[in-house]
Symmetry: C2
Subunit: 449 residues, 2 copies
């Protein structure tokens, strides 16, 4: 395809993105830890020819587990189990750089990339919360320190992924040469945060580098994305905000000497879909009626650090300082929604319940497709991070009704082109930094048998 | 079954345990990173009704990759992909306590246990080598320090697994109560090596605790096993040595107030199987002829710290000190073999090539079964860690010819009794330390839907 193609990622979140999803009669909260549920979701997404599925993560039990389905599965182990039952769809896992070691992270993603035949992606996050710091016995690092560590972490991980050249494995049984050790490189990285000898003990994976994804929207986060990321998830409420973010990020990308088209911007969208607008509104209302205010208040405290009592529910959002340590951009977004729409706290919680600050679009498949097309064709998106309110129902509706509409409009693929995540996103396979000439351009892992 | 039953674990090692396996015409070295190879192996083992499969691991590229198939997959991601294509067989992954955090390890195993429906096991190791230390930027810890850390690590991990009681998840949609937060417990662990707040952010898994496996045979290692392990892998060359180890370990187990039958001793055995003894000997010779001495010398240096030049090959093993930092028991075992059998270094390498110090038994299915039966019935083993010389061929031969022989003798199961790894090994499910009365004895995860 030469035309610009829409990219779609399915953000898999338990039994749905709406915070009351688990209470809705069309979900089953017991599925939170049931691998068959996620395998079904991945197969539905693959049936819809989506680019990838994605799992968020955190390193503590946060939010209010009394009132929401928390305590699910770890992303890397889960995605390996999804790789086994799918063939084309990309598999993106969130892993933090704050409480991990680059050697482990490089190795697990290289392993997932091998296991999936080149479908692994890493959503790079830093861990901001007190609760996470407490699980690793250290003081919560400052924002800038987290990003400094993340930057060096990335440097080490990509060095480890490059430590085996594509053709390092020879596999010559006759001469007894398994690997050309001249093509396996030590790192001897000596940095501020890490000292890593290398090489990795997993050979170079099908994609060379698993796809790098990022979602921070702070100043540091955007710079980090512009420098390293190949796909960016973002929460944008209005077309104007989306356009501004898109233009800003692409400019930053260019500022780092990269081509703007090599970084895809994927705003989140939670589509509440009905065969009629009335049906969609009904589902939206059903979910709203299941919201538990105490849960929303806990989320507000956890996600953006605004800690309010139940008595505050029917008053406007009180004055709170914009600045905070961690989650500052998300905090600003939430405060902006409350002020712009003049909401009470209860109303604000309703607005956030669907997508935690991501855009909720309610309507028919055609109306959802209209929104997607508008953003895609007006400089606000290269694709979307689809966040169904209830699962699997919301993903099935999207795949069965919105995808065909997007295909009919010529916006979305009608078959997979390749078998890797990079192939789905139309992104190049990086050469090893050690590869001579065009050697690193070759696709596939060179293992003679 | 009331009779004592043999337990069999398939130790999956690339394309085979013999160090020249990758050069043999009946293997394909390109399969080292091919998930389908391992899925096939797991299915073969399950067809043979084996208790479990097991993956070893290290955190550095060690040994001589020029001459052997190294650089394979990470165990936890690989086992999650094997869980997806099997139903009964246990899945045991090696993970080190030396360069990991308890929160990550507890969570990944809890996740694998959920994903596999209760089939996860953890082979607990400490990391002794310089190469591994270099990948994590710290000085190589002393032997005793490694075990002190491992002990506290285990304490924290089991606390995290217990942090959700079995019936913490209520899932009551009507009242909006997802979890009974009175049954989810913080740890507030404040130890020498770790400070961990908890609770875990994955709910209690089907087995409560994934099975704990251990293989250290140093004094510290045996004490650790006696205190925590439920299955113990060990390398024993002779029946007498096997009996001594077995009796010693069971006595240590009793010394820790545990029942000896709650810890299974599984010596390693590499069976070279032929339909006639002559055919088995031929396969053994074929493999011996493919040995590369330079590789064996590198292994000797890496595994037991004895670093010799090629000129030493045709002389007896020189005097080397017994004491070393790390791998001391393995070192003693290797020196014992060389002295007892009066071997040259080249001959010693040949003896080690099959099983790295584990026992190699060459013969017909009946002869292999005789050896297994003798050890099992004479106080040297509760089962075996099966290490096929070449894969998948050697595992297929074992499953198709040795297993039926063991079944015919009434030693091995003819059907799986349950669906969990603990069920296969006949071991109880641990109650959460927070469970009142017999609540923790209940099987299954209590999630009302």
């Amino acid at each position: 395809m030469t035309a610009r193609t829409l990219h779609l990622n399915a953000f898999l979140m338990g039994v749905g993105h709406h915070e009351a999803a688990w209470r809705h009669p069309r979900t089953d909260p017991a599925r939170l830890t049931d691998v068959r549920h996620y395998q079904r979701l991945a197969r539905i997404a693959e049936r819809g020819l989506l680019d990838s599925v994605f799992l968020a993560d955190g390193l503590a039990l946060q939010g209010n587990v009394r009132h929401n389905a928390l305590g699910g599965l770890e992303p890397l182990t889960l995605l390996a189990a999804l790789a086994a039952v799918t063939d084309h769809i990309g598999l993106i896992a969130t892993v933090s750089t704050t409480y991990n070691e680059p050697f482990h992270v490089a190795r697990k993603f290289a392993s997932l990339d091998h296991i999936s035949g080149g479908r692994a992606g890493w959503n790079i996050v830093t861990s901001a919360s007190e609760a996470e710091a407490r699980n690793f016995g250290i003081e919560r690092p400052a924002h800038a320190d987290r990003y400094a560590r993340a930057t060096e972490f990335l440097e080490v991980v990509t060095k480890l992924w490059d430590s085996w050249e594509d053709d390092a494995v020879v596999g010559d049984r006759h001469s007894g040469t398994y690997a050309d050790t001249g093509k396996i490189h030590a790192l001897d990285h000596q940095g501020v945060h890490f000292r890593v000898g290398g090489p990795l003990n997993t050979s170079r994976s099908p994609q060379g580098h698993p796809l790098l994804v990022q979602a921070g929207s702070s100043e540091d986060g955007k710079e980090f994305a512009a420098r390293f990321a190949e796909a960016v998830f973002t929460a944008q409420q209005t077309l104007a905000d989306g356009q501004e973010f898109y233009a800003d990020l692409k400019a930053r990308v260019a500022g780092h000497g990269r081509r703007p088209e090599d970084v895809l911007v994927l705003p989140g969208i939670s589509p509440i879909i009905g065969s009629t607008e009335q049906e969609a509104r009904r589902l939206e209302r059903e979910l709203e009626e299941l919201i538990i205010p105490a849960y929303g208040l806990a989320q507000l405290a956890h996600l953006v650090g605004i800690d309010l009592p139940e008595e505050a529910l029917d008053r406007p959002l009180p004055e709170v300082p914009l600045e905070t340590e961690g989650a500052q951009s998300r905090r600003k977004l939430v405060i902006d929604i409350a002020r712009r729409e003049e909401l009470t706290v209860r109303q604000l919680l309703g607005r956030l319940a669907g997508g935690r600050g991501h855009r909720v679009v309610t309507g028919t498949p055609e109306q959802i497709a209209d929104q997607i097309q508008t953003w895609f064709e007006n400089g606000a998106a290269d694709g979307f991070n689809i966040m169904p309110p209830i699962l699997p129902d919301g993903l099935e509706r999207f795949v069965d009704h919105v995808v065909p509409e997007l295909q009919a409009r010529g916006l979305f693929r009608t078959a997979y082109d390749g078998r890797t995540l990079r192939g789905n996103y139309g992104l190049a396979r990086p050469a090893s930094r050690h590869a001579a000439g065009d050697a690193g351009e070759r696709l596939g892992v060179a293992v003679a048998s």
